[in-house]
């Protein structure tokens, strides 16, 4: 970003300064260069959180079949490590890489360089400080024990400040865009950046700072927690899918109308879903029923989006072989459909009666957050990082290891644990089976989960190593790549026109 072309903060808020002159459009190179520092900060810290979160996950997983493992310290006990895992991967890895991907998509689609990158850098610093304090707080025993909001009251406001900065930046970037046409990804991103601060502040105020009374807390809790998935991660993930699939295979999205329809039906139904986490619970029946209905209505946006993506990919699945980005993104997109269908099923009372309170829910959460969202983030990063660093990925082998380890790992995690959870639920609903027998029955599945987790860990380490390697290359002067890293990859992915 050169200073002359970048507007001041005030100018960028001034509507008269918006220029639709297409000569003015920034080049892709210019945009990518402007994204470099702020995005790398988010990505580096996001990946460090991923490694920490993976370590915590392994500890928690081992403890469930080996309760004496590391049991001497309160800060490593299961009920502490588990929320620490959730918060590092959700607010650390997923949110930080999600923000990086979202910012980059926003710049690309608005055809503006990342203006005022200072705001984003400050936001990244605040976010990490807030989260670090919060995670230490959880380990020290200050967890709120409110799911998805475990970060103690002294850390969440710091995250909020950071998020407010990013939100303001998005509005400015959007206002100052040089491409008047809006693409569906931008809708999702705008919505996500607007919805999340709202959700986060309302939930923190109503649950942590000035708690409401009684089971209303549970209503606020699940309104928030479900919407973090539906209105924060899902829109970012879908925005990335909508951008990358057409970009990489080089054809437009199948249907504009379906994408519009998919967006509005998601906006309409998803945010009413949360109370299906409380089926059978001590809340008024009407409240839970609304959410069950809304959950079933989610079939509409999910099927719409699935058809749209699938029809776009139709006939081009071979491209997955050569493009790591596409491979991760297509797997993620398919997982989105599966996760949604599993979620809808779990919201139906007769199914919920069995699987609620079991490991089935844990499997489902990982189908959504990992097999869908994390995969999309991995894929997007494979595309973005070479562009903002202007270097090629150093090792095709590591990409290969990464993909197969996490792909096989996630299947071995999700499928057996879904089945195990379902069986656990059946046994639990049979009062003649002693509880300890139910516990024993789950142990093989839990051990298997640890194995799957180890495999995913291998994948994460491979990715991290490749990433550090590319960063190391940034310190050296640029050299033209000598060989293509994956046959055809470069040919496919760098075929971008500046239009």
């Amino acid at each position: 970003m050169s200073e002359e072309t970048s507007p001041t903060l005030m100018q960028s808020l001034d509507p008269r300064k918006i220029s639709n002159d297409s000569d003015d459009c920034a080049t892709l190179v210019e945009i990518d260069r402007s994204c470099r520092a702020p995005l790398l900060i988010f990505i580096i810290s996001g990946l460090i959180w991923l490694l920490i979160g993976t370590g915590l996950a392994l500890i928690a997983s081992i403890k469930l079949h080996n309760p004496n493992f590391l049991s001497g310290w309160s800060w490593l006990s299961f009920g502490v490590v588990r929320p620490a895992h959730l918060n590092t991967v959700i607010y650390g890895f997923c949110s930080e890489t999600g923000i990086a991907v979202a910012l980059w998509l926003m710049c690309r689609l608005c055809k503006t360089p990342l203006i005022h990158s200072g705001i984003i850098i400050i936001a990244a610093v605040f976010w990490n400080i807030g989260l670090t304090i919060g995670i230490f707080g959880i380990l020290a025993g200050d967890s709120t024990s409110i799911e998805w909001l475990e970060l103690p009251a002294y850390s969440s406001p710091i995250l909020f400040i950071s998020f407010a900065l990013i939100g303001i930046w998005t509005v400015i970037a959007f206002r100052y865009r040089r491409e008047p046409m809006l693409y569906v990804s931008q809708w999702y991103l705008l919505a996500a950046f607007f919805w999340f601060p709202w959700l986060y502040s309302v939930a923190n105020i109503m649950l942590v700072l000035e708690p409401v009374h009684g089971t209303l807390q549970a209503a606020v809790n699940w309104w928030f927690a479900h919407n973090v998935l539906g209105l924060w991660f899902t829109p970012i993930g879908l925005a990335a899918i909508y951008y990358f699939i057409p970009k990489i295979i080089g054809r437009p999205i199948h249907s504009y109308h379906l994408s519009v329809f998919g967006f509005w039906s998601l906006a309409l139904f998803y945010n009413w879903n949360g109370m299906h986490h409380l089926i059978g619970g001590p809340l008024p029946a009407w409240l839970v029923t609304i959410s069950i209905v809304a959950s079933v209505m989610m079939l509409i946006p999910v099927v719409t989006v699935a058809i749209n993506h699938h029809m776009t990919m139709w006939g081009h699945f071979k491209a997955m072989k050569n493009s790591p980005t596409l491979r991760f993104i297509v797997v993620g997109a398919m997982s989105y459909t599966l996760a949604s269908l599993q979620g809808i099923a779990s919201a139906i009372p007769s199914y919920s009666e069995v699987v609620h309170f079991t490991h089935h829910t844990v499997a489902h959460a990982h189908l959504g957050m990992y097999a869908f969202f994390a995969m999309i983030m991995f894929g997007s990063m494979y595309y973005i990082i070479p562009r903002i660093t202007n270097r090629e990925w150093p090792s095709a082998g590591l990409i290969y290891i990464h993909f197969w380890a996490v792909f096989v790992g996630m299947i071995l995690y999700i499928v057996p644990l879904s089945i195990g959870g379902f069986l656990q639920g059946l046994k639990m609903n049979n009062p003649d089976v002693p509880f300890l027998e139910v516990v024993q029955m789950t142990l093989p599945f839990l051990k298997f989960r640890t194995l799957a987790g180890l495999l995913m860990t291998v994948g994460h380490i491979a990715f991290f190593a490749n990433f550090i390697w590319i960063l190391a290359r940034c310190l050296q002067p640029y050299r033209e790549p000598v060989a293509m890293i994956l046959k055809g990859t470069i040919g496919l992915e760098s075929k971008e026109e500046n239009s």
């Binding site: 025993g141 709120t144 809006l182 089971t215 619970g281 001590p282 516990v439």
Partner: protein, 204 residues
């Protein structure tokens, strides 16, 4: 197409609608629920937790017991909560009006604890179980909470009154005893306070 402001309005209205529907209306409906007088016994239910039990709730919170234990009994005919003896009736909103945070929980790696104070009223049982669940429940995957206990030398050959009576294979070395720290005492006081037995009319 350039409908920036319109899209924004739609985005705003969608979340606003569910915020009103799922939070604001319930806030008016049951956000200020009051305790009631139970007809049969004449006592007021529920009562806020006092002293030690209240501190115990915070031990329960900071150790994350909620990630394995729920505190909500589903109605008869939906699951087997009542048949398993986790409650004599379903849980209702009024049971929780004094709880903060409300620890409904979403996981049952361990049993529901709504009425554990009634189901397992023995303090000693709870101390042994927390010290190491294998003592009372072999094969459990509940973690041991040894860090809530203190191992100390027996003074003047007299074993303290509150020292744990442990089976030989769990007992400390000779000359030592294991006593609960104040966190463990508070936690057990909290567990014993979990009863939810009051026959509320709305829970039938």
């Amino acid at each position: 197409m350039n409908f920036g402001p319109l899209i924004f309005l739609g985005i705003f209205l969608s979340l606003a609608s569910s915020w009103c529907g799922l939070i604001l209306i319930p806030l008016f409906q049951f956000g200020k629920m009051e305790p009631v007088t139970i007809e049969m016994t004449g006592e007021i239910y529920p009562q806020p937790k006092g002293g030690e039990a209240k501190q115990g709730m915070s031990v329960y919170r900071s150790n994350g017991c909620i990630y394995c234990h729920s505190q909500q009994v589903r109605p008869r005919g939906f699951g087997a909560d009542i048949e398993r003896g986790w409650g004599s009736r379903r849980s209702v909103g009024r049971d929780y009006i004094y709880d903060n945070p409300v620890l409904l929980g979403t996981m049952r790696t361990g049993p529901d604890l709504t009425n554990i104070g009634q189901r397992q009223p023995s303090e000693d049982w709870h101390f042994s179980h927390l010290y190491d669940p294998q003592i009372t429940s072999p094969g459990s995957n509940m973690p041991p909470y040894r860090f809530l206990f203190e191992t100390r030398p027996i003074r003047n050959g007299v074993v303290s009154e509150n020292a744990l009576k442990l089976p030989a294979n769990f007992a400390p070395e000779d000359g030592f005893e294991i006593v609960p720290k104040k966190e463990a005492k508070a936690l057990v006081a909290y567990l014993l306070s979990l009863q939810a037995t009051a026959p509320l009319p709305e829970a039938r």
